[in-house]
């Protein structure tokens, strides 16, 4: 992973949504997944903007597939988590864990 490139909070959320969705990750499902789990409203534009950035970093890839009738035939753009994306999620989790260590309310004080 590129040095010093921390994942933004929303980037991490989008990547985690991809993990949840697996093969069914495209614009609409990703947006809905985030809305359902995070319980907050997300604009489709923001989702695409973030996905684009992640793709440019090489964390996700995308490909177009045929559209459905409800889309009036417009193509779906499916997104897939790349190994690099998975690694960066893992790293991010470690960083956050490391940062939080010792700050948990129930944590034992050293030597106690």
């Amino acid at each position: 992973m590129p040095k010093g490139d921390f994942l933004g909070a929303f980037e991490e959320i989008v990547l985690l949504a991809l993990v949840h969705l697996g093969d069914d990750a495209y614009g609409m499902t990703i947006r809905r997944e985030i809305e359902e789990r995070a319980k907050r409203t997300v604009s489709i534009g923001a989702v695409y903007s973030t996905l684009d950035r992640l793709e440019a970093k090489g964390l996700v890839s995308s490909l177009y597939a045929n559209g459905s009738e409800a889309r009036r035939g417009r193509a779906r753009r499916y997104f897939k988590l790349e190994p690099e994306g998975a690694r960066s999620l893992e790293r991010s989790r470690e960083i956050l864990a490391n940062m939080r260590r010792g700050l948990e309310p129930e944590s034992e004080l050293p030597g106690s």
Partner: protein, 898 residues
């Protein structure tokens, strides 16, 4: 709100808004997502109104990120754009130019070679144009110049040096003024060397003697003071003079108060009334001041001194003026048969009239211009071949563009833009070359030749540069562009595009170009060879005298001081005696005119023994010489004697004749003692006895055939202008102080001018021809190099395209010699055809240049055999080099390369 909600579609308006903000490639996926969610989840769950609100909210909140994304993406994409050729080609000229510049920069070797070739070609053309412009093209610096004509006399049946031109006598000119109706105004001029004092030192200055209406006719004004005006020529008028800018600066220190001051000209005081502007020259650059002159209608008819300039009435053509003056000449012939027999008159344009030997000058200039144009053509052919070769190499590129939708004309336009850019760069460089070249050229152009303004690269030359630069584009660029774009798309795009197959049409074209180049080079080489041989003939020819260690100088005795012939004789006899006595001088003599100095005097004579009448008079050139002249110039006296001090005014008239005259008229008799009669109207015919026969001497121009020459004892008929000639023991110029000392010892006011060794006189006579031969030789050399380069390029390219074929041949057992024979054979065919055409052209145009040649036929056999052999050898050598390369092809290498 959409009115069509019942049909379960998402609202259109927000979608439209969103599309405006999205990059095209994002639109489908994103709006598709919104549509899908709207229809499948939001609408069924929330109802129409809340679903639409939801939709709007999605769109509005997506606008910001979408726009941001679009902005971010742009810089990433931009560098890719130019690679999409179809895209770049759609746009305008500026893109074409930038594309062309990039394309040329990518092929730096090609560009350098092409630009250098064209720049040299264009540069020489501009330089020659700039040189010829003041003589042949630039409009005359006179008012309404197309209405000005020049009048001169003609001696019929006489083709001397300078053609048949002659001067018109005063009485005849007065008749013309009375009878001619074609002219608004008609004036005359003559010029002569004068002695002027009043400036810094006494000196010889050539003065133009002009009728007082002359400046009016020409329509010129003085820069300082006033010009000569009608009335200044009246007998009672004050003697006045107008100075040239050059004389005013050189001899009068550019005195701003010169007007009103006095100058002594031939011992007569003249008042300076004006100074002409710097560029003014009339009738030629050597004339440095102008003095009013009067036509003396009572003068005797005969020897003429005048030339005329007239301003035609509006609407009268030069042809009409010429017809009129020819008619007047005919009437005068019958009215005055004694003096005007054989005398015609001619009216020509002023430019033609003012330029000495206009026909010869124009011929030489045009030959020069044609030669440089040919070199440029050869250069263009070379560049065309380069472009063509590159065009073949670019077949794929062009095919790709065509496949992507670029039309043929679109591609031709692109290729032409490239070529135009090339030509403009070359044109700019060429102009620089011309500016640098013009100065030395101007320095060697004869200053006495009349010209309109200076030799410079002016606006006209720049326009000419632009025209020929763009003209070369059509010459070297258009045909290859048409050729290259006629490519078969599928063939060119096929992977690997079989490199053995050179388009037949392309090959035919480049062969044609090479044949053209070789024929033009052949033509130029033949011309140069003929001219060089001709100059060689001139240099090696027997002039008839020995010019080594002979000093010459011109002396003119003012009539005011030397009124009687006896005064002249005393001075000259004493001077020659003293000079002969000087230690370094072996002999001294006076002569008029000096041989090979572009001066001749005509003399009519009849042979008494043949019983000829005056009407049968033959023309000879006349020469006046003192006793030691033949010894000084080492002209052999072949029979009889030379002149002696006893041949004086009081002794019977005697002459010496040249060998040619003696052989023509007394082939079987002893010429010595024969009698002839001299005719020089208005003087009475004079009987004379031949006392000697001397060798033939080339007197006038080097290319004249030696005709009859008659020598007179100068002591018997002295002139006030003459040349002193000294045979010296050491270098001729060592005797200059002696000459000055003796002459100034006799009369300190006498100006001595034109001090030259006889060698210099001869060289000056040869100069223009040598210069011309040198220039032509350089041009022909350039043409040879270019043509050899051209054939080398074509053969080398063809070999490189056929590497595969040669590999196969060698693999199948063809020997190196066989391959060489094949390749050289290809070059030899082109060479032979080109040489043949060039020889044909040279042969056909031979008659045009025969006037420039001396002692050699325009179809000289040796030249027509040797030069083609030389060119063929060079061309074959140029094809041999790539042929050798063809034999070194490693068969395996060549086959693998496919």
């Amino acid at each position: 709100m959409s009115p069509r909600t019942d049909r379960h579609t998402a609202p259109r308006l927000p979608e439209l808004l969103l599309n405006l903000c999205l990059a095209p490639e994002d639109r489908f996926a994103l709006t598709g997502d919104l549509n899908e969610e709207y229809l499948l989840f939001v609408r069924p769950a929330r109802g129409r109104i809340r679903a639409n609100l939801w939709y709007w909210r999605q769109v509005v909140t997506s606008l910001g990120p979408s726009l941001g994304r679009r902005m971010r993406r742009r810089p990433r994409r931009r560098p890719k754009r130019p690679r999409r050729i179809g895209d770049a080609m759609i746009h305008g000229l500026w893109q074409d130019i930038r594309f062309a510049a990039r394309s040329l920069r990518k092929r730096l070797g090609f560009t350098t070679l092409a630009v250098a070739t064209l720049a040299l070609g264009i540069g020489t053309n501009i330089a020659i144009f700039s040189t010829l412009n003041p003589f042949l093209f630039r409009s005359l610096p006179f008012e309404d110049p197309q209405r000005l004509v020049h009048l001169f006399g003609v001696i019929e049946d006489w083709e001397g040096f300078g053609g048949d031109q002659a001067r018109i006598d005063h009485a005849t000119f007065a008749d013309v003024q009375d009878q001619a109706t074609s002219y608004e105004e008609l004036g005359a001029y003559t010029y002569a060397i004068t002695n002027i004092t009043g400036g810094d030192e006494p000196e010889h200055v050539t003065a133009g003697y002009v009728t007082d209406n002359m400046f009016n006719i020409l329509g010129v004004q003085a820069a300082l003071g006033r010009r000569i005006v009608p009335g200044d020529g009246e007998e009672s008028a004050e003697r006045v003079v107008v100075l040239s800018d050059g004389l005013w600066r050189r001899s009068f220190g550019a005195d701003p108060d010169i007007v009103g001051k006095a100058a002594s000209i031939n011992k007569n005081v003249h008042t300076v009334i004006g100074v002409m502007p710097a560029g003014f020259n009339f009738p030629y650059g050597g004339v440095r001041m102008w003095i009013p002159y009067r036509i003396d209608r009572t003068a005797e008819r005969g020897q003429g001194s005048l030339l005329g300039v007239g301003r035609l009435e509006p609407g009268v053509s030069k042809e009409a003026a010429h017809a009129e003056i020819a008619g007047i000449a005919n009437r005068l012939k019958s009215a005055y048969p004694a003096s005007n027999e054989n005398k015609g008159m001619r009216a020509v344009g002023l430019r033609e009239g003012l330029i000495f030997l206009f026909d010869l000058v124009r011929l030489a200039f045009l030959a020069l211009a044609a030669s440089v144009a040919l070199v440029l053509l050869i250069g263009c052919a070379n560049v065309a071949n380069l472009v063509l070769a590159w065009g073949t190499a670019r077949e794929r590129e062009i095919a790709v563009r065509t496949a992507m939708g670029a039309g043929r004309w679109r591609i031709i336009r692109q290729l032409l833009t490239e070529n135009a850019l090339l030509a403009l760069i070359a044109g700019t460089l060429g102009t620089v070359i011309a500016i640098l070249a013009v100065r030395p050229i101007a320095a060697v152009m004869p200053g006495d030749l009349w010209r309109a303004g200076a030799i410079t690269v002016d606006g006209a030359a720049l326009a000419f540069a632009l025209i020929i630069s763009l003209g070369t584009v059509l010459l070297f660029g258009l045909v290859p562009a048409l050729q290259t774009t006629r490519t078969n798309l599928t063939d060119a795009l096929k992977e690997g595009g079989r490199s053995g197959s050179e388009g037949t049409a392309g090959r035919r074209l480049s062969n044609l170009l090479v044949v053209g180049e070789i024929s033009m080079a052949m033509f130029l080489l033949l011309g140069a060879a003929l001219l060089i041989k001709s100059v060689d003939n001139m240099t090696e020819m027997d002039i008839g005298l020995e010019s080594e260690n002979v000093l010459t100088a011109k002396v003119t005795l003012p009539r005011a001081d030397y009124q009687n012939d006896s005064d002249v004789l005393t001075l000259v006899t004493n001077t020659l005696e003293q000079l002969s006595a000087a230690s370094t001088v072996s002999s001294a003599a006076a002569v008029y005119p000096l041989p090979m100095n572009f001066e001749t005097m005509g003399v009519g004579f009849t042979i008494d023994a043949l019983g000829e009448e005056p009407d049968d008079a033959h023309l000879a050139s006349g020469h006046w010489a003192t006793p030691d002249y033949f010894r000084t110039m080492r002209i052999p006296v072949m029979a009889g004697r030379g002149f002696t001090a006893q041949d004086t005014e009081n002794s019977p008239t005697v002459v010496a004749v040249n060998k040619a005259l003696a052989e023509r008229y007394w082939p079987d008799a002893n010429p010595v003692g024969q009698r002839l009669t001299l005719h020089d109207p208005p003087a009475e015919p004079t009987p004379a006895t031949v006392v000697g026969v001397v060798g033939d001497v080339i007197q006038g121009g080097l290319y004249d055939e030696i005709g009859p020459q008659v020598y007179f004892p100068w002591l018997q008929d002295p002139s006030r202008g003459f040349y002193l000639t000294l045979a010296t023991e050491t270098d001729a110029l060592d005797a200059v102080p002696t000459l000055r000392g003796v002459v100034w010892g006799a009369d300190p006011t006498l100006p001595i001018s034109a001090i030259r060794s006889m060698d210099e006189v001869v060289t000056e006579a040869l100069g223009p021809f040598q210069g011309m031969a040198l220039v032509l030789a350089l041009l022909a050399g350039g043409a040879l190099v270019l043509a050899a380069g051209g054939i080398y390029g074509v053969i080398a390219y063809s070999v490189s395209r056929r590497i595969h074929e040669f590999g196969v041949r060698t693999a199948l057992g063809a020997s190196g010699r066989h391959v060489i024979r094949q390749v050289v054979g290809q070059g030899a065919r082109l060479t032979v055809i080109g040489v043949g055409i060039g020889m044909g052209l040279a042969f056909a145009s031979g008659r045009l240049v025969s006037n420039l040649l001396y002692g050699i036929a325009p179809a000289d056999a040796a030249t027509f055999i040797g030069t083609p052999l030389f060119l063929t050898a060079v061309a074959l050598l140029a094809t041999y080099i790539p042929a050798r390369r063809a034999t070194r092809v490693d068969p395996m290498e060549a086959l693998r390369g496919e």
